[in-house]
C-alpha cells in the first residue's frame, strides 16, 4: 500500500547540513499498522512528513497505493492535498476558530474530499461517534481537554475515509493512564476500519502494543523492520536491542560451533555461555550476545548442576509492583534481571544467575 524507497532528506541549517533521513526503505501492506519507532530527533517525523508531502525529499521514491507520489527520477511530486492520506499531528492542529463539528467537517466541506451537503452531517457524526465524541459537536474546539482534542484530530483524519492514516506521536500529550487506554482503543479502531497506518512514536511500549510491524529508526536510518515479537526477541543489532525493552548486551567470541548435536558456546566477559548458534559461524569470530532481563533466573543458591550458571551479587533491587527489577554484578559487569515479587532479594546478597540457553540471542 505504501512503498518508500531510498528516502533521503537533508536540512540546511545555519550550523550546516543535517541529514534527517538517509536511505529509509520500507513497504506497508494494506490494513497494516506500521510503526516508526526511535529516539527523539531520529527522523521519524521527517519521514512521515515526506510521505504526506509536507516535506520534499532530496532523493528516493514514495508510492501510495499504485501511485507514485514522489520520485526523484522524472521529478514527480504530487501535492499534499492530492495524496489522499489522513494525518494526526503531534500538536493535533485543531483549528481554534472552529467548533468540533466544523473541525471534523472541514475536509468534507472544502477541498477534494468535498461531499454532498446532505451527507456531511451524517458522516461527521459517524466519525465523532467512532472516537466517542458524539455529544461535543457544538463545543468550541479550544474548550476541549487534551484527550478530547486528540480524538477530534483523529475523527477529522478519518472522516474522509483516507486510504492511509499517518499519525505523529498522537498520544504523547496525554497522561500515562489515558495513553494506555487509548493505545488499545486506537488499535481496535484502526483494525475495525481496516486502515493502513504509519504511526510514529518514541514510546517502545506503545509500539509493541499497537503495531503489526515496527521499523526502528536511529540517526536517520532504519535499523530493523519486523513484527513486535521479532524486534523484541530477535533484534538485529545492539541499537535495536538497546532501544526496545531492556537488554543485556555483551561482546563475545565463539569458542565452539554446534556440531553433531553438540551445542555451540561463547566466551563472554561474564563467563562462558552455551547458546544456539547459526551454522555459519566460525570459532574465534567476535559476536554480540543479548538476553532479556525477564529471561534471567535468579536463585539464592546453586540448585544442582545446570548450564550457564554464574555467580553474582545483587547491587540494586527495585520493587515495581508486579515484580522486582534487579541489577546484578557478575564478574564486575552489570546484568539486568527481573525476579517474581514472591522471591526475596536484598542488596548485597550473593546469588546464582542462570541464563537459559535459548534466551541468548546472537546479534549478527
Amino acid at each position: 500500500m505504501i512503498r518508500v524507497k531510498n528516502l533521503r532528506k537533508t536540512f540546511l541549517t545555519k550550523q550546516g547540513s543535517q541529514a534527517a533521513v538517509h536511505g529509509a526503505e520500507f513497504d506497508v501492506a494494506e490494513g497494516e499498522i506500521f510503526m516508526l519507532l526511535g529516539p527523539s530527533g531520529c527522523g521519524k517525523t521527517t519521514t512521515l512528513r515526506c510521505i504526506a508531502g509536507l516535506e520534499t525529499p532530496d532523493e528516493g521514491e514514495i508510492w501510495i497505493g499504485e501511485q507514485l507520489v514522489f520520485g526523484d527520477r522524472g521529478g514527480t511530486l504530487l501535492p499534499v492535498y492530492k495524496r489522499g492520506v489522513g494525518m494526526v499531528f503531534q500538536s493535533y492542529a485543531i483549528w481554534p476558530h472552529l467548533t468540533v463539528f466544523d473541525n471534523v467537517a472541514y475536509p468534507l466541506v472544502h477541498g477534494i474530499y468535498k461531499a454532498p451537503k446532505r451527507e456531511v452531517k451524517g458522516r461527521v457524526q459517524k466519525a465523532l461517534s467512532l472516537v466517542g465524541l458524539e455529544r461535543f459537536e457544538d463545543r468550541p474546539a479550544p474548550l476541549l481537554s487534551g484527550g478530547q482534542q486528540q480524538r477530534v484530530a483523529l475523527a477529522r483524519a478519518l472522516v474522509y475515509e483516507p486510504k492511509v492514516l499517518l499519525l505523529d506521536e498522537p498520544l504523547s500529550n496525554l497522561d500515562a493512564k489515558l495513553r494506555a487506554e487509548m493505545r488499545i482503543e486506537l488499535r481496535a479502531l484502526m483494525k475495525r476500519l481496516n486502515i493502513t497506518a504509519i504511526y510514529v512514536t518514541h514510546d517502545q511500549e506503545e509500539a509493541l502494543v499497537l503495531s503489526d510491524r515496527i521499523a526502528v529508526m536511529h540517526a536517520g536510518e532504519i535499523k530493523q523492520i519486523g513484527t513486535p515479537r521479532d524486534i523484541y526477541v530477535k533484534p538485529q543489532n545492539d541499537v535495536v536491542a538497546g532501544f526496545i525493552g531492556t537488554a543485556n548486551l555483551f561482546s563475545a567470541s565463539i569458542t565452539a560451533v554446534p556440531r553433531n548435536g553438540e551445542e555451540g558456546s561463547v566466551s563472554t566477559p561474564i563467563g562462558a555461555l552455551a547458546c544456539p548458534l547459526p551454522p555459519s559461524v566460525a570459532v574465534g569470530q567476535p559476536v554480540t550476545i543479548m538476553f532479556r532481563p525477564e529471561d534471567v533466573v535468579v536463585r539464592a543458591s546453586q540448585a544442582g548442576p545446570s548450564q550457564n550458571s554464574l555467580c553474582g551479587v545483587v547491587e540494586q533491587a527495585v520493587f515495581v509492583g508486579s515484580r522486582l527489577q534487579c541489577v546484578l554484578s557478575v564478574q564486575g559487569h552489570k546484568v539486568h534481571c527481573e525476579v517474581p515479587k514472591s522471591q526475596l532479594v536484598e542488596t548485597g546478597q550473593s546469588v546464582v544467575v542462570e541464563i537459559p540457553r535459548h534466551a541468548i540471542h546472537l546479534l549478527p
Partner: protein, 594 residues
C-alpha cells in the same frame, strides 16, 4: 498530469500562487526603486539627457554630521520613546485586561491619524510656546514669572514629542494583534511557576510579542525621520533644527523661480542614506524573527487570551489611556474645532469668543469638491486597504511560511519603499506615468486614481508586511499543514484557516491602512490630475491657500465621519475586542471565573 515538477528550494506548487503575487508587487517596487536610484544621477528631469554626481556630492557637508544627523537621531529615537511609552501600556490595557470602554478607546486611537499633522503641530504651538503658549501663560501667572521658556518649537525634543504622540497608534496597532493571540497557557504556565503579574508581563508576554514590538519600533523610527510637515512647522524649515526630512525637501525644491530645476534626484540620495540604517535595523529584526518557531503562539491545542482583571487599578489604567487621548486626540480636536469656528485663527480670548461662528461650514461639501471627491476618496481608500492587505498577506506568507530562498530578500525589499521620501517616490511614479502614456497609451496611469493607489499601496506595504509577518509567525505551521492533508489547496486554506485565525490583525491592518491612505497628502497632491482629487488633498490645498478655517471645518467633518465609520466597522466586525480569535470562542464560562 496530477503530478507537478519539483523546484529547488523546497518550493512546491502550494506556494506558487503567493510567490507569484509577491513578485508581482515586488516587481513594481523594484522598478520604482531603480527609477529613484536612476534619478539620483540625472541633473534634473529624467527626460533630459545628462549624467551627474552632484546630487551625491551635494549631500556631503559637515552640517549633515554635526547637526542634521544628531537632530534626526533625537527626533527618531525620541519619537520611538514617546510612542512606545504610550502605546505599549495601552496595547496591553486595551487588549488583555478588563478595562472599561475598551472599544471606544481603541476606536479613538484609530481616529488619530485622520487628524491632519499641521493641526496637531499648531495645537502644540498654541499650548507650549514661550510667547503665546496657553500652558506657559497659565503656569507663568501661577508661579509669578513673566514667561516660561518652554516651547515645542525650535528643539528636536519638541518635534520628537509631537511625532511620538502621532505615531503611538502605529505601535499600538502593530502590537495589539500579536498581544491578543498569545497562547494563555504560556502565560498561565508562568503564573503557575509562581511569577507575579508584572513579572509574567515582563518575562513571558513581552518576549512573546517582541517581534511585533521591534517591527513596530523600526517602522515608527523610519516614519518619524521621514515626516516633513510637522518638523517643518516646528522649526526644521527655518534651519534651527534641520532634520533629514527637511534637508530632503529643500534640496529637492531649492525654492527658486525655476520649477524644472527641482532636484528630485537629491531625494533619492537622501532616501538611500535613510534606507541604509533602516535596512541594518531590519536585518536585526529578521534575525530575531529567524527564531520564528519560538513565537508560534497559536497552536492547535486551543487557547483563549486571558484577560487580567485590574480591579481597583483599572482607574489608573483608564487614566493613562485618557491622558494619551487627551494629548493626542482631545487637544488637536479642540484646536481643530476652535479653528473651524473662528473666521481667522486666534488665541482664545473674550474678544475671540465673540467672533465664533459657523461660517466656515457654509458650503463645505462643495468647497471640498462635492460628491466627485468623496467618491474618489472612498474608492481610493478601499482599494488601497484591500490591495495592501492582500499583497502584504502574500508577501508575508512567502516570508514567514515557506522555505523559498528569496524570502529574506523579499522581506528586505518590501521594506525599502518606506525609506524613500514620498516626494521622490511620487515623482518617480509620475515620470513613469508620463513615459507610460507615451509608450503604453492604453495603460490608465497618468492622472488617474490608479496612480495614487499604486503609490499608496507601495508606500504602505512595509507596514502591511510588518503586521502580517508578526501575525502569520504566530500561527503554528501544523494548522496549515493539517488543512493541506485534508485535501485543500493553499488559497482555500488561506481563506478558511489562516485569515480567520489572524482576523484581528487583518482588521487592524485594513482599518489602519485605510486611515493612512485617507490622510496622505504629499503623494496624492503630486500625482493629482484632472479626475483624481481626494479629500486630503482638498483640505491641504485649502490650508495652504490660507483658508485655515475652512480646512479645519473640513477636517472636523472628516474626523467625524471616519470616526463614526470606524466605530461602525469595528462593531460590525465584532468590535476590536470581541473580534479577536478565541475570545469570542472562549468567552463566557472561563474568563469570568478569573
Amino acid at each position: 498530469m496530477s503530478a507537478s515538477t519539483r523546484r529547488p528550494g523546497g518550493i512546491t506548487t502550494a506556494n506558487a500562487l503567493p510567490l507569484a503575487f509577491s513578485w508581482l508587487i515586488l516587481a513594481v517596487v523594484i522598478v520604482l526603486l531603480a527609477f529613484v536610484l536612476y534619478m539620483t544621477f540625472v541633473p534634473s528631469l529624467p527626460t533630459e539627457p545628462g549624467f551627474t554626481l552632484k546630487h551625491w556630492s551635494n549631500v556631503a557637508s559637515s552640517r549633515l554630521l554635526t547637526r542634521v544627523i544628531p537632530n534626526t537621531a533625537i527626533v527618531g529615537f525620541g519619537a520611538i520613546f514617546v510612542g512606545a511609552f504610550f502605546a505599549l501600556p495601552m496595547a496591553w490595557l486595551l487588549n488583555r485586561t478588563t478595562l472599561p470602554l475598551r472599544a471606544t478607546f481603541t476606536t479613538m486611537i484609530g481616529i488619530t491619524p485622520v487628524i491632519p499633522g499641521f493641526i496637531l503641530a499648531m495645537g502644540w504651538i498654541m499650548l507650549l510656546d514661550e510667547r503665546i503658549g496657553l500652558l506657559n501663560n497659565v503656569a507663568a501667572s501661577l508661579l509669578g514669572f513673566s514667561s516660561i521658556p518652554l516651547s515645542v518649537k525650535d528643539s528636536p525634543w519638541g518635534i520628537a514629542w509631537v511625532l511620538g504622540l502621532i505615531l503611538a497608534p502605529a505601535i499600538f496597532f502593530l502590537v495589539a494583534g500579536p498581544l491578543c493571540r498569545i497562547d494563555p497557557s504560556l502565560e498561565e504556565a508562568a503564573s503557575v511557576v509562581g511569577m507575579r503579574h508584572l513579572t509574567t508581563l515582563r518575562r513571558v508576554t513581552l518576549p512573546l510579542v517582541w517581534p511585533g514590538i521591534l517591527g513596530g519600533l523600526i517602522y515608527v523610527f523610519m516614519t518619524a525621520v521621514s515626516i516633513f510637515e510637522i518638523p517643518a512647522l516646528l522649526g526644521a524649515a527655518s534651519g534651527k533644527v534641520p532634520v533629514l526630512a527637511s534637508e530632503i525637501f529643500y534640496s529637492v525644491r531649492p525654492g527658486g523661480p525655476l520649477t524644472a530645476t527641482f532636484a528630485y534626484g537629491a531625494a533619492g540620495v537622501y532616501g538611500t542614506l535613510l534606507a541604509a540604517p533602516s535596512l541594518v535595523a531590519l536585518y536585526v529584526y529578521l534575525r530575531v524573527l529567524e527564531r520564528t518557531e519560538r513565537y508560534q503562539v497559536i497552536t492547535g491545542k486551543g487557547y483563549r487570551p486571558r484577560e487580567t482583571d485590574l480591579g481597583g487599578w483599572s482607574w489608573i489604567g483608564v487614566g493613562f489611556v485618557v491622558l494619551y487621548l487627551a494629548l493626542a486626540v482631545g487637544l488637536p480636536l479642540l484646536v481643530l474645532l476652535w479653528a473651524s469656528l473662528m473666521p481667522v485663527l486666534q488665541m482664545p480670548s473674550r474678544e475671540a469668543l465673540s467672533k465664533l461662528s459657523f461660517t466656515n461650514y457654509d458650503g463645505l461639501f462643495e468647497g471640498l469638491g462635492g460628491f466627485g471627491v468623496i467618491s474618489n476618496t472612498v474608492v481610493l481608500v478601499l482599494s488601497v486597504s484591500l490591495f495592501v492587505s492582500f499583497f502584504s498577506f502574500m508577501v508575508s506568507w512567502v516570508v514567514v511560511r515557506t522555505q523559498a530562498q528569496s524570502r529574506k530578500l523579499m522581506d528586505m525589499l518590501v521594506m525599502v519603499p518606506h525609506a524613500i521620501p514620498s516626494l521622490a517616490f511620487a515623482f518617480a511614479l509620475a515620470m513613469l506615468g508620463i513615459l507610460a502614456s507615451r509608450w503604453l497609451p492604453w495603460l490608465p496611469l497618468s492622472g488617474t486614481l490608479g496612480i495614487i493607489a499604486v503609490a499608496h499601496v507601495i508606500n504602505r506595504m512595509p507596514y502591511g508586511t510588518r503586521v502580517m509577518n508578526s501575525a502569520l509567525a504566530q500561527v503554528h505551521r501544523e494548522l496549515e499543514e493539517c488543512a493541506q492533508v485534508c485535501g485543500t489547496k493553499t488559497p482555500t486554506i488561506m481563506r478558511t484557516i489562516i485569515l480567520p485565525l489572524i482576523k484581528p490583525s487583518v482588521i487592524y491592518l485594513v482599518v489602519w491602512t485605510a486611515m493612512l491612505s485617507f490622510q496622505e497628502v504629499t503623494m496624492a497632491l503630486f500625482l493629482s490630475g484632472p479626475h483624481n482629487n481626494v479629500l486630503s488633498v482638498s483640505i491641504w490645498v485649502l490650508w495652504e491657500g490660507g483658508n485655515l478655517g475652512t480646512a479645519a471645518a473640513g477636517a472636523v467633518a472628516m474626523v467625524a465621519t471616519t470616526g463614526l465609520l470606524m466605530f461602525g466597522i469595528l462593531r460590525l466586525a465584532g468590535g476590536p475586542t470581541a473580534g479577536l480569535v478565541g475570545r469570542e470562542v472562549g468567552a463566557a464560562p472561563l474568563t469570568k471565573s478569573q
